[in-house]
């Protein structure tokens, strides 16, 4: 994964409206290829084939939540070390500490400004690349 540029983003988000807005912002302002999944099951199924550079992961989802989804994605060889950013409304200190323990890059708090999302992701990505090298 090291050295790979950021082109393909897997968005895991159950809310259809947030899916639309987020993928629109990522596509229009960042030129990313975005694959949208509405649930953990969909994400686990799509991950190996889509081979994302980055995963944007919601936390509160029916069925398997974001935290367990991340654990499941880590079991898949293609996403075992794919960088993950949580995109969530759950940002209590205890939640954030948990995301950190799970080796995620960062947490973006909902609501967010879609027009600033690409820049935020680039900043996080650049910082991560700097840490990896």
């Amino acid at each position: 994964m090291v050295g790979r540029s950021l082109k393909r983003i897997l968005l895991v988000e159950d809310d259809p409206d947030i899916q639309t807005i987020t993928s629109m912002a990522l596509g229009s302002f960042g030129g990313f290829t975005v694959h949208v999944c509405g649930s953990a099951a969909e994400a686990i199924q799509a991950a190996a084939e889509f081979r994302p550079d980055l995963i944007l992961l919601d936390v509160m989802m029916p069925g398997m939540d974001g935290v367990d989804t991340l654990r499941a994605l880590r079991e898949i060889p293609e996403t075992v070390s794919t960088p993950v950013i949580f995109l969530t409304a759950r940002v209590q200190p205890a939640d954030v500490a948990k995301y950190k323990e799970l080796d995620s890059l960062a947490v973006i708090r909902k609501p967010f400004e879609p027009t600033a999302l690409v820049e935020t992701i680039h900043e996080i990505w650049t910082r991560h690349r700097g840490e990896v090298h």
Binding site: I21, T22, Q92, P111, T115
Partner: protein, 377 residues
């Protein structure tokens, strides 16, 4: 009679101190003190009943200080030893012996009654406290739930408006643009309210974490001014950092401090007449660093002065789109970092300020580099 009365007063002063000393682990010397107190009492004509009353008073005071049950039992045993030693001089006479036994019996009964009453008071106070805590938890859970539940739809509404404003949906006619601006402005207000509510709940429930470290005041203010400049510019307001003491540092959480400054600066910009300047000033005074934010707005109405830092407080004359939580959050944040917030206001000039203790410890160059403050949340 006067001599007995003065001896009793002396006894009432000395006895609790000596008893406390013995009960807290005093040895032979403390016990000898008991015997001396007893002898002194006999010589001065103080009766056994009076001695018992003094003992009871001192013991109840001591026991009420105790929290752990095992400590209470140990202490009661030590107190009995102490009192028995005090009684020894009285037993030298037959009358004194009888009185001492009667007094001990009465005192034990009185003590039981008083301790039971105190225990009941303690239990009901505890119940009250538990109920208060339960209510507090319910309130926090509710705010937390509402805040999360509101965030999801708000993400869509605010996000969609944000994208429309960026021109993603094509150009709107002037009327459409005005409507979009109004919707966007108000969704921003809602976002602020939700964020502020959650912050306040975190502060009040003690779950907000503060990473305190020494921060250079000047660079902190420079970054805060820069971060708020764009927003102020939209209102036609300029923010200027007039002065800041060189090398002054305060021990704060950088992100929380940024939040404090953003609140004060956005308030100042909001209330300033267009084309005016908001001035930021900082200076040292008696080991304190004071930061001031001054605007040229209409001033805080006198009848609002007492409530300005309260939650949801907004002056009747104000309709500036705030959540009514900003200043109360600012105050709570500054106070959590050992600071103090205040304001001075007159028509045409309002200054909000906060004082923080100056951090003076010398740190190594490496450490100082680590402490470089980074903006952004």
């Amino acid at each position: 009679m006067a001599a007995v009365s003065s001896a009793f007063e002396e006894l009432a002063d000395q006895y609790p101190v000596a008893l406390r000393e013995y009960c807290r682990g005093g040895g032979e010397a403390a016990l000898l003190r008991a015997y001396q107190i007893g002898r002194h009492a006999v010589a001065a004509g103080v009766g056994v009943l009076e001695m018992a009353a003094v003992h009871e008073e001192a013991l109840v005071a001591l026991l009420l200080d105790m929290i752990a049950l095992e400590e209470t039992a140990r202490l009661a045993k030590r107190a009995s030893e102490f009192f028995a030693e005090c009684m020894a001089p009285f037993e030298l006479t037959r009358r004194g012996y009888q009185e001492a036994h009667a007094a001990l019996r009465d005192m034990t009964q009185g003590l039981e009654r008083r301790l039971n009453a105190a225990l009941q008071d303690f239990e009901s106070a505890q119940d009250e406290l538990l109920e208060q805590k339960r209510m507090e938890k319910q309130k926090n859970d509710f705010i937390s739930l509402i805040s999360h539940e509101v965030r999801t739809p708000l993400t869509s509404i605010h996000g969609a408006l944000n994208l429309l404003k960026s021109g993603l949906g094509g150009e709107l006619n002037p009327q459409g643009q005005r409507l979009l601006d109004a919707a966007y402005r108000n969704s921003q207000r809602l976002v602020r309210l939700v964020n502020d509510l959650l912050d306040l709940q975190r502060i009040e429930s003690g779950t907000m974490t503060f990473h305190l470290r020494p921060v250079d005041v000047r660079s902190l203010l420079e970054q805060a001014v820069e971060a708020s400049q764009a927003h102020a510019g939209q209102l036609g307001i300029k923010i200027v950092l007039q002065s800041a003491p060189a090398g002054a540092r305060v021990r704060v959480d950088g992100d929380r401090m940024m939040q404090v400054m953003t609140n004060l600066l956005s308030n100042a910009a909001k209330f300033s007449p267009p084309e005016e300047t908001v001035v930021v000033d900082a200076f040292r005074r008696n080991g304190i660093v004071r930061v001031e934010v001054t605007d040229r707005g209409p001033g805080v109405p006198a009848d609002f002065h007492g409530r300005i830092f309260q939650r949801f407080a907004q002056a009747a004359s104000s309709d500036r789109g705030g959540s009514g939580l900003g200043l109360s959050i600012t105050k709570a944040l500054v106070e959590h970092m050992s600071g103090h917030v205040g304001f001075e206001s007159e028509p045409g000039r309002t200054t909000f300020y906060f004082d923080l203790p100056e951090w003076r410890r010398t740190v190594s160059r490496e450490k100082a580099a680590e402490n470089t403050w980074s903006a952004g949340r």
